[in-house]
């Protein structure tokens, strides 16, 4: 009688003679075996992720033990990074990582959401696809290309036009004059943040656009029907409806910004120092590791770099956890 699919049995349950019943039992047993095998296979695949993650954490912890043993918690709170005397503190790279990522999000979130709103609500139809594809292509550019472009094209532009302007404009404003102080190097924390903003833009835009598209037209049409403006529709219907998805996109972007290595290394200036000025060179955790790991001689030096990796892991974990928590709170409020 050939192979039968589950659906076939569902249909002809009515008329079954005894041989068919036997046949049916055997087939069902075969299905059961197949199902078990399939379940085990997928379970192995899923648990492989856990094993890998556990392995990464374990090796990071073991690798960073010598550093934490040598410096204790001072490792997190000092900014001296001296390979000669083997005194290492992670504060400068931690600061650089957090500040560049925060600035990048500050720049990229409004622009990214703006693009997504334009594409879904305002853009003429023939333009939607080209602009959407262009944004997605941005995500496909390798980060080293961003780095080289940043160093050769963006940095000189910023050095010539942006930085002197910033320094001049804010030279007499109390807080801002410290934020934008110093000689215009072209590269530095601000340039790195610009590059990061460009790099995370496609993540925020394409995810927001996709979730904006899921808003039922009925809702939007009803809002327009009672006389809402486009702005009001976006603010009171589209964004509340897609909040979770948008925050997910932003978090994905933030994750990339925190871990981005090559592009940042090229343009941040790689100075192990915390400067009040955003124009001054700084460093990030991943840039430090990329720069120094190959030539790190000595156990404490290597271990300190691995400890930096562990800290980055920790920062990413905390931020993702916070995002989850925020989402939970939002959902509770909504319900």
């Amino acid at each position: 009688m050939g192979t039968k699919k589950v659906a076939d049995f569902a249909i002809d349950t009515g008329a079954l003679d005894s041989t068919e019943a036997l046949d049916r039992r055997a087939t069902l047993r075969r299905f059961k075996v197949l199902d078990t095998v399939f379940r085990l296979l997928t379970m192995t695949a899923a648990s492989a992720v856990l094993v890998l993650l556990g392995g990464v954490i374990a090796s990071l912890v073991i690798g960073s033990l010598p550093a934490f043993r040598a410096f204790g918690l001072d490792f997190l709170t000092t900014q001296s990074w001296n390979p000669v005397t083997e005194k290492f503190g992670a504060l400068a790279p931690i600061y650089g990582t957090v500040v560049t990522s925060a600035l990048a999000m500050l720049l990229a979130v409004p622009v990214g959401l703006g693009i997504a709103i334009f594409l879904t609500e305002l853009c003429p139809y023939p333009l939607r696809r080209p602009i959407g594809i262009a944004i997605e292509l941005l995500a496909g550019i390798p980060s080293i290309i961003y780095g080289i472009w940043g160093l050769f094209v963006l940095a000189p532009l910023i050095q010539q036009y942006v930085q002197p302007g910033l320094i001049g404009t804010f030279s007499n404003v109390p807080v801002l004059s410290t934020l934008f102080a110093g000689p215009p190097y072209g590269i530095g924390v601000l340039t790195a943040s610009f590059i990061l903003a460009i790099m995370v833009l496609p993540f925020i835009t394409s995810i927001s656009r996709d979730v904006f598209d899921t808003v039922p037209s009925v809702l939007k049409e009803a809002a327009y029907g009672v006389g809402c403006t486009t702005w009001e529709v976006v603010r009171s219907v589209v964004i509340p409806y897609t909040r979770v998805g948008v925050i997910g996109g932003v978090m994905l972007g933030l994750g990339r910004a925190l871990g981005e290595t090559m592009a940042v290394t090229f343009v941040i200036g790689n100075a192990h120092k915390i400067s009040a000025s955003l124009l001054a060179p700084g460093t990030t955790i991943s840039a430090t590791i990329a720069n120094e790991f190959t030539e790190a001689v000595g156990d404490i030096y290597t271990s300190s770099l691995i400890a930096l990796g562990l800290i980055l892991f920790g920062i990413t974990f905390v931020i993702l956890a916070l995002a989850r928590y925020m989402l939970m709170r939002l959902e509770q409020k909504a319900a």
């Binding site: 001296s80 990074w81 001296n82 390979p83 000669v84 005397t85 160093l151 050769f152 940095a155 000189p156 050095q159 000689p183 190097y185 072209g186 590269i187 530095g188 290394t265 090229f266 200036g269 790689n270 100075a271 192990h272 060179p281 460093t283 840039a287 720069n291 120094e292 190959t294 030539e295 790190a296 001689v297």
Partner: protein, 348 residues
């Protein structure tokens, strides 16, 4: 159809497989410094054509090279920074130099061509300490009485990655400036008091080229091939010299290799009227009693060949070959120290 196809595949497989075992058996493996990679690759290429013995060199950085040779995963390690004799003894290693290179200060100062600006050690140290901040500082004026120096800010550019170039540079600054020695010291990576960090020679070169008033330091070969503007440096004898093969060789000749322990010689601040003050050799590390004596002997034969016939190739790539008497010393070291399981020297 399938038959001819199959035969073709078999033939191709036979061709691609046949020579592999022979090559594998004799291949030398090495890992380490990136600075000598171009010349090792060139030597390996020519040597393979001459002898059929291949060399697989991974330029993973000096630190990596030291780790790999200690772990015995390679036949030899390569480092730009010599290991101290006591560290060598601890791991049963022998070290010897292969070629010499130099580090040159490069500047971006409109109106100044290569060699038109002269600096000395203490001034360079003060610039890199961030104490001399502008190009018209009295200390620079004193060294260049005739030059018209601008009042531009000095932008210091240094390497952000650990590097043998940085080691030579900071080693020189430590020798000529007690303040530098105390505050910063010498290593492949240091805690820079001033300036911006850039990755690799190319990073320093680009940042220097882009920033008006910048000063950086790069490998001589790199500066020469990219026609960068270099500054002259006043050497130990008080003479301002320009970087060239000749001045590097002068530094190497005056180094006193024969008196050194395990060739622990860093060619910075060497005496001699013609000596370029910031030069250094790059080194090979090999076990005194190699795990695989046959391959280790191949490695030594390779370097022996390189000393004899590779000098011209090195010069083409702007490295400086070792002086003849140093090569003689190294061969004696090989015979005396590197031995097989039977206690006999691997090469004579």
């Amino acid at each position: 159809m399938s038959f001819t196809f199959l035969r073709g595949v078999l033939a191709a497989a036979a061709i691609s497989l046949a020579p592999v075992p022979a090559v594998l058996a004799a291949d030398i493996s090495g890992a380490g410094a990136t600075f000598p990679y171009p010349i090792y690759a060139k030597w390996a290429d020519v040597y393979k054509k001459d002898t059929g013995v291949g060399l697989n060199y991974q330029s993973i950085g000096s630190g990596g090279g030291i780790k790999q040779i200690k772990a015995k995963t390679v036949t030899f390690g390569a480092s730009d920074m010599p290991l101290k004799p006591e560290d060598l003894a601890k791991d049963g290693l022998v070290q010897f130099p292969t070629v010499i290179g130099g580090v040159v200060p490069v500047i971006n100062l409109p109106g100044f061509a290569s060699g038109e600006l002269t600096l000395d050690g203490p001034t360079l140290a003060k610039i890199f300490l961030g104490e001399i901040k502008t190009w018209d500082d009295p200390a620079i004026k004193k060294l260049n009485p005739k030059a018209k120096l601008p009042s531009d800010a000095i932008v210091v550019v240094h390497r952000s990655d650990g590097s043998g170039t940085t080691f030579l540079w900071t080693n020189y600054l430590s020798k000529v400036s007690p303040e530098w020695k105390e505050k910063v010291g010498a290593s492949t990576a240091v805690e820079w008091p001033a300036g911006i960090g850039a990755k690799g020679n190319e990073g320093v070169a680009n940042n220097t080229a882009q920033t008006k008033g910048a000063i950086g330091y790069v490998e001589y070969a790199y500066a020469k091939q990219n026609k960068m503007t270099y500054a002259k440096v006043v050497n130990k004898d008080g003479k301002a010299v320009a970087p060239s093969s000749e001045t590097f060789q002068a530094a190497a000749a005056n180094a006193g290799w024969e008196k050194s322990d395990s060739y622990y010689v860093i060619l910075t601040d060497e005496p001699g009227a013609k000596s370029w003050p910031i030069a250094g050799a790059t080194f090979i590390l090999i076990h005194k009693q190699p795990q695989d004596p046959a391959v280790a002997a191949e490695a030594l034969r390779f370097f022996g060949w390189a000393y004899e016939k590779g000098g011209k190739l090195a010069e083409e790539l702007d490295y400086v070959p070792l002086p003849k008497d140093v090569v003689g010393l190294i061969k004696k070291t090989w015979a005396a120290e590197i031995k097989g399981a039977d206690g006999k020297p691997l090469v004579n």
